[in-house]
């Protein structure tokens, strides 16, 4: 069985900053030192930025940046519906209810050599903390950022300092095929240990496929509707291959949200 992270807590943090990061995208920075202290790449928070019962549930977001010195974290999010619209209207100084850190930290190799990071849309968000961690451990990161259109390529310049190289791909410029090619080249030339992907099932399938052929470990950030974030509602299941045959349901909030692509089924 996996280990449950026992550092999660519920605190009232404070919004430090909220800035637009593209059409419908925002970066929120919040002060929540107790949460940040124990947080690691691959984990997430459940936020509530309103005192009311509509929307009822907290909203899950990956850590975009972890600033341990400042006791602050950032999330990069897209305004999708009700809850994210409300969060986007918060202002510096407003309280923010934070439940976290949740989920399983990414299990890094002691010394990763080279890592691929593939994010689409707001899926680029968690790549920053990974790139930082890889560099801390002496490895190199290569980022492939995908989006529908150029204005949706988020935070690319901010990513560069942490990466050996950053490539961008947009749909209008035939991004799908180009990204595949770039990834294949990377895998061949750089002997990647691992590839992480977030924000697109299509890209996750691609990584899964290349991972089978090549020799790196592929991982995907899985996106499941969540009520509790801590393992009690049993709502957030993904299908995971079972040792024997068939599959079992794994809770994304406890075993994930990052799953090895050798195990999880992309649907």
């Amino acid at each position: 069985m996996f280990l449950h992270c026992f550092w999660a807590m519920l605190i009232t943090g404070t919004i430090l900053d909220l800035r637009p990061a593209g059409p419908e995208y925002f970066v929120l920075r919040a002060h929540a030192p107790q949460v940040v202290q124990h947080a690691a790449p691959g984990q997430f928070v459940m936020l509530q930025g309103w005192g009311e019962q509509d929307p009822l549930l907290r909203r899950p977001f990956d850590f975009h940046r972890l600033d341990r010195e400042a006791g602050a974290f950032e999330v990069l999010f897209k305004v999708k519906g009700h809850g994210t619209a409300m969060i986007s209207r918060l202002r510096p100084g407003d309280p923010l209810s934070v439940l976290g850190p949740l989920g399983r930290p990414i299990p890094f190799h002691e010394a990763p050599k080279a890592v691929g990071l593939i994010g689409r849309g707001s899926g680029v968000s968690p790549m920053f903390t990974i790139a930082e961690e890889v560099r801390r451990r002496g490895g190199r990161s290569y980022a492939l950022v995908s989006a529908r259109s150029p204005d949706r390529l988020l935070c690319v310049d901010e990513l560069r300092p942490f990466c050996q190289a950053v490539w961008t791909f947009t749909d209008d410029a035939g991004g799908g095929a180009a990204l595949r090619q770039a990834l294949e080249t990377l895998v061949r030339d750089e002997a990647l240990d691992a590839v992480f992907t977030c924000g697109s099932n299509r890209l996750a399938s691609l990584v899964a496929q290349l991972g089978q052929e090549g020799h790196f470990a592929g991982y995907a950030f899985m996106d499941a509707p969540m009520a509790c974030g801590v393992g009690t509602c049993k709502g957030c299941v993904c299908r995971v291959r079972r040792d024997g045959a068939g599959y079992r349901y794994a809770l994304a909030c406890l075993e994930g949200p990052v799953f090895p692509l050798s195990e999880v089924l992309i649907e």
Binding site: L10, L56, L57, R58, P225, M226, T232, C233, G235, R248
Partner: protein, 310 residues
Amino acid sequence: MNEPDLSVSLGRLRLKNPVMPASGTFNFGKEYAEYFDLNQMGAVVNKSVMLQPRQGNAPPRIVETPCGMLSSIGLPSQGIEEFLTVQLPFMRALECAAIVSVSGTSAEEFGELVSVLDRAGGVDALELNLSCPNFVDKVIFATDCGLMAEVLQECRRRTSLPLIAKLSPNVTDIVQMARLAEKHGADMLCAVNTFTGMAIDVRTRRPVLGTVTGGLSGPAIKPIVLRMVWQITQAVGLPVIACGGISNGTDAVEFLLAGAAAVQVGTANFINPLAIPETIAGIRQYMLDSGPHSVTEIIGAAWRRSAAGR
């Protein structure tokens, strides 16, 4: 001001306060032990255990609705064997009553679970989940007099532990179902499980949930459940544990005033892991502010006074 007395008696079952989790919203307690001292609770209630290990329903399993949520989890379960070795010992070790919720697909299965748990020891009461709306065939025992009677009889035959019949709100006459449960040996009632509902994604034009329909829970349903508790407690002598949208002390007091002897906090745990201790604190504060020394004095006060004439 004296410290108020929050203890309540539900028949033979004595609780140090009337607040406990709703089955299926608290696992068996482990996860929330990080957030507060579980020993504060009046009782612990596990997610309904089934006889055999089960996977549960295909995703998506949850969807948010206005002031509520629909869920169709489908009772994934570790099975009773693992329950006896892992979950039950944890529950038993807490300094509060251990209420074990069980669920089965037939009277026979319910009966077997009851027998096993009767023998297991350290169980203070059994809650029979007669009202899950998310089995594959969508049968809800507690909406069918015949089925409900059959399950209750089978369970009653097998144990002398207090039996709590968990009712379904999806009925025309909740009092009739409560009376039926009383007649067939229930010692207490839990009112209620979720309302059957659904959501459709206008983009895909398909039901959102993998199983089409699911159970509606949360603040949205509170006014209907309150009415049911009000009706049942005036008609039936059994202690009633209220469940449905209770999120804080004020909600809990509303249900106690309506006649409930205890309350369960469900969906609220998901949003606020401290919902249970805050509910306990809220009841205590209400009593400090408004008088009665013992919480038993407010149970049913809204109709006891109303019966006496306004």
